[in-house]
């Protein structure tokens, strides 16, 4: 009986491995999307022009890295506007962009930002572990609570951000 089981061992190992490898595929999660190593840490400084993130204030803030030359950034503007209307403090960081272009972008797609900083060299983004635009960080009492890489969809807002926003201090 044990001998028979032994012969089936490669098949069992294969089945186990297949299940282990198939599971992430089935969740539909994009493996290229990385999780931020900054979650739980104090928000780094943003050494950008014209902008000082009020990090030490209590409450929830959203920091959105965007650019006028970035198409998904335009696509997520309505969601950001909606969040702003719902009372969220949204701060924008224009990544490697020109003031004129940003002005036109905001005029065209709407301006949900309390303030906009300019990260000309991209150093601010590097300090935040940003590897593409758009990226959105949720900050609570000066600490990074969550990072969303890629454009925000309504689903992201309702399922991922809203529960956190309502759970936190306002």
């Amino acid at each position: 009986m044990m001998r028979r089981l032994f012969y089936f061992l490669p098949l069992i190992v294969f089945a186990g491995l297949a299940a282990f490898l198939a599971a992430p595929l089935l969740t539909g999660k994009d493996p290229r999307v990385l999780s931020s190593v900054l979650v739980g840490r104090e928000a780094p400084g943003l050494d950008v022009q014209g902008f000082e993130l009020p990090r030490h204030e209590k409450g929830m803030k959203l920091v959105n890295f965007f650019a006028s030359w970035c198409v998904p950034c335009a696509a997520e503007q309505p969601i950001l506007s909606r969040m702003q209307k719902d009372g969220v403090a949204v701060y924008g960081v224009a990544y490697k962009d020109k003031p004129e272009a940003v002005k036109n972008f905001l005029a065209r797609y709407g301006n949900p930002y309390h303030a906009v900083g300019f990260d000309d060299g991209g150093r601010g983004a590097i300090n935040w572990g940003v590897y593409g635009v758009p990226e959105t960080f949720l900050i609570k009492d000066g600490r990074i609570l969550k990072r969303h890489a890629g454009p925000l969809t309504e689903k992201d807002y309702l399922q991922e951000f809203k529960p956190l926003l309502e759970g936190g201090a306002k």
Binding site: R32, L34, S35, S36, V37, L38, K96, G121, G122, R123, I126, N127, W128, G129, Y131, G132
Partner: protein
């Protein structure tokens, strides 16, 4: 034989396609360190390439950053740590060697040993029966 050598050569050449002349440092020793550090840093945009090979803007920024830190006097491991603090372990091409990556690093040699042991055991079992 020359085809075998040629084939091997193909895989040993590492042409850093994307490093631009104006990025390179004047001090050759520092530049050499920068290149060796860069080859261990993953470009997070094109995630299979290191930052020396990738043409992505982020790769360029990181190459510049590496050289800046070296000019500031950082050691090689400090430069890697600087980037790792911001982007996580995945930015390193080689996983770090630490207690928590023990399973990852030891698995291949252990599997090799286990496989060889199984092979020998099976071979000797067959002989004994005859």
């Amino acid at each position: 034989m020359k085809y075998v050598l040629g084939f091997i050569l193909l895989f040993s050449l590492h042409a850093a396609v994307a490093v631009e002349p104006d990025e390179m440092l004047k001090d050759p020793a520092l530049e050499a360190r920068a290149r060796s550090i860069s080859q261990n840093l993953r470009c997070l945009v094109c995630q299979g390439e290191d930052i020396d090979d990738s043409r992505a803007p982020l790769a360029h920024d990181l190459r510049v950053l590496v050289r800046e830190r070296l000019m500031k006097g950082d050691r090689d491991d400090q430069v890697l740590q600087f980037v790792r603090e911001r982007y996580g372990d995945y930015v390193l091409m080689t996983p770090p060697v630490e207690w928590r990556t023990l399973a990852l690093w030891s698995a291949p040699p252990l599997m090799l040993i286990a496989g060889l042991a199984l092979a020998f055991a099976t071979a000797f079992k067959k002989r004994r029966r005859r």
